[in-house]
C-alpha cells in the first residue's frame, strides 16, 4: 500500500501530473474575483472565506479525473485490481494521494491568498482549520465520482455534474466555519458538522467507490 502511495505521489509530482495545476487555478480564481466584483476592501473581506472555499473546491475538481484515468489508460488499474490489495484499500490510497497532492497544498496556500482578498485577522486560522478538515471529504467524494466515470470517453463534464451536488454539505459547513471565524463568532456547531461529514465520508465512501470501480472493471 505504501509503495502504491509513493508511486502515485511520484507520478503526480512529475511533469504532466497536474500537481501545480490545481494551485495555479486556485490563484487565478482568487485574482479574478476582485477583478469581477471590484476592489472594495470591505466587500472583499466579507466574501473572502466563501471565495477561498469555492476556489479550493473547484481546484480540487480540476484534478479529479486524473485519479484513475491515467491508470485506466495504460492498464495498470486492471493490474491493481488483481493485486492482493482489497479494492477499498486501493481507492483509499488513491484518495489519500489526491489529497496530499491537491488538498494539502491548497490548505497551505489559502492564507496567502486570503491576504489578496483582505481576509479579516481572525479568519486565517479558521480558513486553514476548515479546509484542513473539509478537503479530505472533497478528495474522497471526488474519488467516488472519478470511479463512476472512469471508463467514459468524455467523462470530465459528467464528473463535475455528478460531484458538485455531492460537495454541497461540505461546502456549506466549511464556508460557514470560515465565515464565522472571520467575523469572530462561535464556530463550534458548523465545525463539528464539518468534521462529522468529513470523517463519515472518509470512513464510508471508499466502500461505494470500490464497488463502483469493480463494476467498471468487470
Amino acid at each position: 500500500m505504501i509503495s502504491l502511495l509513493m508511486r502515485d505521489l511520484r507520478l503526480a509530482v512529475r511533469a504532466g501530473g497536474g500537481f501545480g495545476l490545481g494551485l495555479a487555478f486556485f490563484l487565478i480564481v482568487t485574482v479574478l474575483v476582485p477583478l469581477g466584483v471590484g476592489p472594495e476592501t470591505g466587500l472583499l473581506a466579507k466574501i473572502a472565506p466563501g471565495i477561498l472555499w469555492i476556489g479550493a473546491l473547484l481546484a480540487c475538481l480540476l484534478s479529479l479525473d486524473r485519479i484513475f484515468a491515467l491508470d485506466w489508460e495504460d492498464g495498470s488499474l486492471d493490474l491493481l485490481a488483481t493485486a492482493p490489495l482489497p479494492m477499498e484499500g486501493i481507492v483509499s490510497i488513491k484518495a489519500l494521494a489526491h489529497w496530499l497532492t491537491t488538498g494539502l497544498p491548497l490548505v497551505i496556500v489559502a492564507p496567502g491568498l486570503g491576504v489578496l482578498l483582505s481576509l479579516p485577522q481572525g479568519g486565517y486560522f479558521w480558513i486553514v482549520v476548515s479546509l484542513l478538515l473539509g478537503s479530505p471529504a472533497l478528495s474522497v467524494i471526488g474519488t467516488f465520482g472519478a470511479a463512476l466515470t472512469v471508463g467514459l470517453k468524455r467523462g470530465g463534464l459528467l464528473l463535475s455534474l455528478l460531484v458538485l451536488p455531492l460537495y454541497v454539505p461540505t461546502l456549506v459547513f466549511g464556508a460557514e466555519v470560515a465565515r464565522r471565524g472571520a467575523e469572530g463568532f462561535a464556530v463550534q456547531t458548523p465545525l463539528l458538522m464539518l468534521a462529522g461529514i468529513s470523517f463519515g465520508a472518509v470512513a464510508l465512501l471508499p466502500f461505494a467507490s470500490a464497488a463502483v470501480l469493480r463494476i467498471n472493471l468487470r
Binding site: 459528467l158 458538485l164 456547531t189 463494476i215 468487470r218
Partner: protein, 242 residues
Amino acid sequence: MSIWEYANPVKFIKTTDRLMPYMAVGAVVCLVSGLIWGFFFTPDDYRQGSTVKIIYLHVPAALMAINAWLMMLVASLVWIVRRHHVSALAARAAAPIGAVMTIIALATGAIWGQPMWGTWWVWDPRLTSFLILFLFYLGYMALWEAIENDDTAADLTSILCLVGSVFAVLSRYAVLFWNQGLHQGASLSLDKEEHVHDVYSNPLYVCIAGFILLFIALVFLRTQTEIRARRARALIARERLA
C-alpha cells in the same frame, strides 16, 4: 404468487398494460376535477389573494419530486439486492418525471414568490434544497445516458442513487442550518395549527391523488418503453453476431 413475479418483463408489460388505462383515466379525472375545483371554486385567501390557487400545482409537484426520488431509491435497492432488470429500468423511467416535477415546483414557487415575497428567488432552505435535488436528477440521468452497457449503467446509477440520497439529506440539513427561510412550514400536517384551511385542502387532496396516479401511469409507460428499447438492443446485437 408474490410481488417478484412482476420482475418478469413480459408479465410486467402484460399487467401494466391492463392497469395503465385505469391509472391514466383516474389521473385525468382527478387532475381536471381537482384543478377546476381549485381554480374556479375556492375563495381568495385574505392575505395572499388569488395566488393561493397556485398551491394546487405547487404542493403536489413538490411532493412528487421527492417521492419520485424515494421510488428510485427503493427500485435501486431492489436492483442491487435481487437484480431484477425491471426494477433498474423503472428507476431510470422515473428520473425524468421527477426532474419535471422539480421544475414545476420551482417555477410555480418562483411565480408565487414574486408577488408574495417581492422576489422571484430567495436562497431559502426549501428552495435551495429543491435546486440541489434538481442537480441530483440531472447527474443521475446524465450517468444513465453516458454508459453504453445496460447492466453497468444500472449498477452505477443505483449506487449513485444510494450515495446521492445520503448527500441529499445532508444537504437538506446543511441548508437549513445555513439560512432560515421565508418559506412557510408544511402545508399538510396532522398538526391542525399550521394546516391550511379545509376549503383549500380538499381540492388539494384531489390534485395530489391526480399527480400520484399520473406519476404511476407515466412510470408504467416509460418502464415499458425502456424494457422494449432494451430488448430491441439485445435483438440487434444478436443479429450482428449471427
